[in-house]
Symmetry: C2
Subunit: 199 residues, 2 copies
């Protein structure tokens, strides 16, 4: 930014690498950081550094973890008979917040995308097969996103899991709660009709 | 966040202190940081730390600065006869981007707000008076925001600057470029009428 000291420009550039943060937001964040007490800036810098240095992938499910096993895999109260397959660890909080799922997870680490050069070999499916073969798994829930890449990924994982003989399910597609039929797109309404249930 | 390693929770909490960043955005930013190479996280942490440690207020105008004098005050090509008074250093980039102002600035460091407990003694006005008394200043432009606090601040600064005998101006209020009269609020339209110019 013209008229500003060089460390400010570098801070703005670093903040701009974050998702959804453009030039204006980055500038606003930088000015906020400069106006706050030095300890607050130091704490933020340390939290970033620390999290990146100390957090790794869970050896079992691929979720973010401090040790070999993430808090969910290590939690003995979780139902070991269910594995919910998600694309990214970032998808877990949404599912956890529902309070309706007590099983384990498996993080693929992405979704199939020829465009972005992500192929089957880039997804953590081998470890999923191992987990199922180790026994005790009743059901695998495919919770990839209901978009082109997520669907392709679900089909791919299903092809590998199905021969293993566990129950295979897919999260439902339909109208979002609180939405209006009038403003629902045709694809979603079509899926909602197809997936209709007894009332 | 439930199910996540503790350093992630701390990173999310630190990010939530930034303006406009709630729980969801903070979580998204944290996951992004965790997925990027460690060097990128380290660079961001260092940029935050560095900027906060190395940036101080310009002794002359109060703008963010690395040394005693900010790049604008130090720039000999700037017109030393004009001082544009703003509330915060964060307001400068917007004015600089117009490319229409070549003078200097004076950063008050806030705006009068009885509610937030900001009084006249909290604003950098003494230094502004000194700068005018040092001579060479033709015009002081009041570029505080056109809201209640900004107006009160402009009136307060005007009361102090007017006796010094320099030209005193206020940035114009009117319809934003590209807006429509039909959807303009009454106050803005009123100001636009009051400030009408020969065409």
């Amino acid at each position: 930014v013209a008229g500003f000291a060089e460390p400010i420009g570098r801070l703005i550039d670093a903040l701009k690498l974050l998702p959804g943060i453009g030039q204006k937001s980055a500038t606003r964040l930088a000015f906020h950081i400069l106006k706050r007490p030095p300890e607050e800036a130091a704490a933020l810098a340390r939290a970033i550094q620390d999290a990146r240095a100390r957090v790794r992938d869970c050896d079992v499910c691929g979720n973010f973890s401090e040790g070999e096993m993430c808090p969910i895999c290590a939690d003995e109260r979780r139902d070991r008979g269910a594995i919910c397959v998600v694309e990214e660890a970032a998808n877990l909080p949404a599912i956890e917040r529902t309070g309706l799922y007590q099983g384990l997870y498996h993080v693929l680490g992405g979704s199939l995308s020829p465009l972005r050069g992500v192929g089957p070999e880039d997804l953590r499916v081998g470890r999923l097969v191992e987990r199922i073969r180790e026994g005790g798994v009743r059901e695998v829930i495919l919770a990839t996103s209901p978009n082109v890449e997520g669907e392709a990924t679900a089909v791919f994982v299903a092809g590998i899991v199905r021969p293993l003989g566990v129950r295979l399910t897919r999260i439902a597609q339909g109208l979002p709660v609180g939405s209006e039929i009038e403003f629902t797109d045709d694809m979603t309404l079509g899926k909602a009709l197809e997936s209709r249930r007894e009332f």
